[in-house]
Amino acid sequence: MRPPVAGVEPAEWRRYLYEKRNPAGWTTETWYHASGCRKFFHAERHTVTNEVRSTRRFGSDHVAGEET
C-alpha cells in the first residue's frame, strides 16, 4: 500500500518500496496478464504447493466464475 506522501518518513517509504511479505502458505497476489488482456487481477495461491484456489478482477470482491 502506497503511504500518503505528505510528511512520510524515509523508513516508511522504503518499507513500501522494498519490503514484501513472503509467507509460506495461502497468499493473495496481484498478477498482470502481460501477453493477454493486459489487466491486473488477484490470485489466491499457496506458495508451497503452487495451488491456485481463486482469482478475481483487481479491486473486486467477487471471485471469478461467480459473476453472471
Binding site: 502506497r2 512520510v8 524515509p10 517509504w13 513500501y16 491486473f40 479491486g59
Partner: protein, 938 residues
Amino acid sequence: MARARRTGTASMRLGPQPGEVIDRNLAYSFTFNGAECRGFEGDTIVSALAAGGERVFSRSFKYHRPRGLLTATFHDPGCLLQVGDEPNVRAAHRKATSGMVVRTQNAWPSLRFDMGAANQLVGRFIGAGFYYKTFMKPQRLWPTYEKVLQRFASGGRIAPGCVHGEYDKRYAHPDVLVAGGGPAGMAAAVAAADVGADVMLVEEEHELGGHLRFGGVADLRVLAELRAAVRARPSIEVLVDSAVTGRYEENWIAVLQRGLPHVTERLVKARAKALVVAPGLIERPYVFAGNDLPGVVLSTAARRLVNLYAVKPGQRAVVFTGNDDGLEAAEDLGRAGVELARVVDARSGGELIRARGKGRVESVELGDGSKIGCDLLVTAVGWTAPTLLLNMAGDTPRYDERAARFVPGGGLPDDVLVTGGIVGDGPIEALVAHGHAAGSAAGNRALQTGEPLEIPLLEPAPHPALFRARTHGIVDYSEDVSSKDLIAAAREGYDSVELLKRYTTATMGPSQGKLETINTVAVLAEATGRTIAETGTTVWRPPYVPITLGALAGRILEPVRYSPIQPWHEAHGAKPIVAGQWIRPEHYGDPAAEVWNVRQNVGLIDVTPLGKLDLRGPDVPKLLNFLYVNKWSKLDVGSVRYGLMCSEDGVVMDDGVTGHLGPDHYFMSTTSSGASAVQEWIETWLQTTFTSWRVHVTSMVSAYASINVAGPRSRELLARLVDDVDLAPEAFAYMQVRTGTIAGVPGCHMWRIGFTGELSFEVHVPAGYGLFVWERLLSEGRDLGVGPFGLEAQRIMRLEKGHLIVGQDTDGVTQAFSAGLDLLVKLDKEDFAGKPELAWEHAREDGMRLVGLQPADANLVPPEASQIVSGDNMIEGRITSARFSRTLGRSICLALVSARLAEAGTSVAVKLPDGRRVPATVTEHHAHLDPEGSRLRG
C-alpha cells in the same frame, strides 16, 4: 578403400518368423568400421550386424572390455555407435538405412585390437573413485593428464563442420495422454477414445505393442486386435519412436518425438487433462563374474532377436531363469535351432556362478559344479519398474519384497493413472482389462463426466530376489562399476545410496539407472546389512531419454521489428544495428559527414521505434502531472512539453515529449527502449491506484512511421510537401505540434522539437505511407542537399548539445537531481511518482552529478565507461558518453562524477582501459555546442 578384414560372416539370419518386423524384399547395404554389411528394411543397426554374425560392438568406458548386445533395446549399454557425423547413436534402436556409415566409439586403434584394454591389467588400481584419487598431483601436469584421459574418453566424435539438423516444437492439448503403447497402454487409449476423449498415445519403440511383439502366437493375435482398434479410432493420435521425457506440474508433459521426415527431433509440449502411465517393465541384468562378456544377453533380448528380426543369437545356449518368461525364451531359442545345453531354474535351486571366455562367452559354471561349453548365456532374473513419471507426479514407489521390485506407492494425484506391468502381473487379458478400465477412468476424468472410477485389482506376482550371484560382476555396464567397487566404496564410508552413486558414478551413465539402480541398491543393502526398502533408491530425474539441445531450442523464434522505411535503408547501404528488437540504420557509410550535412543543410532520420502512446480522456492532465516530475495542468492544444519520469525510488526512468493534440487527446513519446515499460507503468497506476480516472492508453509505436527532418533547411523542405499547416516560425513555434497532410497523406502529426539541436520537425506519418513520404522528402529536397542520417550521427549531435540518454547517461540508481535535471523537478507539486525520494535527494549534498567533460587532449576520445579516479585509484565516476565532434573539432563527453568534483572548471583524471590517466575538465553546461539553443528556436 575398405580394408579386408574378418567380419562375422556366418549368417545368423533365420527363416521368416510370424512377428518379424523386417521386410525381406527391401535389402540394402551399409558399412561397419569400413566393412560392408547387409540389412533388411526394419532392421536396427545392431540386428543387421548380429544377423551377419557380429557379436562385439564396443569397448567399455574405463576398462575397454569388449561388449556385445545385452538388452537389444534403446538402452543397451554396449550398443552406442557412431553413425556418420552423429555420435552416441543407440544402435539397437536406430534403424539401419542404405549407405549408412557406422563406426565404433571408444576403441583405438580398432575395435578388435584396442590399446585401452591395457586398462584391464591395472584394473585393481583404477577402482571406483579413482578419479578423485589419481591424476591429482602434481597439479601442473594437469594439461598432460587431460590429453591422456581424452584418448581414453568414451563417446563419439563431432566434426566441427558437420551439418546441423533441423528441429521444431509443437504444443498439444490432448484430453488423455497415454505414456506407453504396450497392451495396457493401447487398451487405455481405446477406452479413453470410446468415452469421447482426444487421446495422444506415445510409444518408445518403432511400433505399438510392447512385449506382445516378440511374444507367442496368442500375444500376436491380441497385438493385431489392439492395433486395429487403435487404428479404427481417429481421435487417437499415435506417436511412435517417441518418449515422454517428464511429467511436470498439472500434467504439463514433455514428449520427444523422433523419426519425423523433416526434423531430426521435435519437442511436443502437451497439457493433458489426464495422464495414463503405462511404461511396462524393464528386464534387469544379473550380477556375476563374466556378466559383461559378449554373448551374455537378457531373455527379452534373445526373444527380440529371434521373433522381431529373425536373428539366431548363438549356436549353443545356457538359460538361467527365475521366472516363466525365461522358459518362454528358451522355447523360442529352441524353435530357432539354438542348441539348449541347459535350462537352469533358480526356483528349483539352480545357481549361476560365472561365465568364462576370452572376448566372448565360452563356458558357464553352475552352482552344482558343472561347467558347460556354450556361446550364449541367457538370464531372466527379474524386472525393474521405470517409475520416473510416477515420481514426478508426486508418488513414492515402495519396494515389494514378495515380487522383488518397486511398485506404485498409491500417492498419485487424481489426474494421473497407472496401468499395465508396472502395476502388476497377470495373463494378457488381465493387463488389457486393467488398461481398459484405467483408460475409461482417465477419459471420464478428463471430460468430467462424473462417472466413478472402477479399476480392477492387478497384483505383482511373487518373484525370487535375484540380484547378485556368489561372484562379483559388473553392475553399471556404462560406467564400468562392479559390485566389488560398490562394496569397497561402502566400506570407505559412502554408505548412503546418493553418496555411493556420486562417488562410484554408478547409475550416472547413458542408461541413467534403468538397468543398474536396483542392483546397486541391492549390493549396497548387502554391504550395509540393510533391506532394499531401508536403503532406498536414488532420485529418478528427467529426461527419461536423452534429448538433443536442438530439440530443446526448437526453431529460433526471436522477434525482429522493422520500420516501414527499412527497404530503403537496406537498398542504400545502411549499416544495421540491433536496438532491442528493432533493426535500425546506424549510418550510411560516413556518420561524420551525415552530421555535417544536418548542421549545414537538412537530413532525415528514421526514428520509428520511438515510443508513442495515445492518451485519451478527461483525466489525462492528472495522469501526466503524476507521472512526470514537472507540471502539466496547463498545456494548450497544439503545445508540447518535455517530461521526465522517475520511478518511486526517484530514479530516472524515462523521458520524452508529450503534446496536446485536441480536446481530451494527448500524445506521449517515450524512449524506444522504454516504450513497453512505460505503457505497463501507466496501466499499473490506472488499474491499481487511480481506478476512478478516465484515461485510455493505446500504444501507437508501429502505427506511425516517425521521421525527424533536421537542419537549417528543414522548414523549407517540409513546406514543399505541406499545404494545410502554416510552418512559419510565428505560426508554428518551437515545442508545438500540428496535424496535417504531407505529400497527400492525411492525418500526419508534425512536432517542432529538437534532439539534434538544429531546427527540426519530427513528422509522424501513418505507417503504411512511411516509405512513400520518406522517398518524397528525399526527392523534393535534392537541391537542398537532403540526405539520410543514422543513429550514430544522431548520437554525436545530441552529445554536442548535451542531451542525456536515459540508460546511457543515467543508470539504475541515478536520481533526477544527479542527472542535472533540477529545473524540471517541481517539488511544490502535491504528489508525483518518486516525490518523497527526490525531496530527500534534493536535501542531500552528496551523490553523483552528470556533467559535461572536456579531455585536455582534444583528439582523445576516452572509451565510454572509462573510470574517473582520484588519489590512489578511488573511483569518483565514469564517462557515460564520448564522441569526437567534427563540428567542434574536438572530443566531447558526458560523465557522472562525485558531487564535490562537479563544479565547472574542476580538473579530473580519467583512467583509460590501458591504465593511463589523462586529464579532463568539467564544462559549464552539458551542451558543448550552442548552449542557448538559438538554432533550435529559429
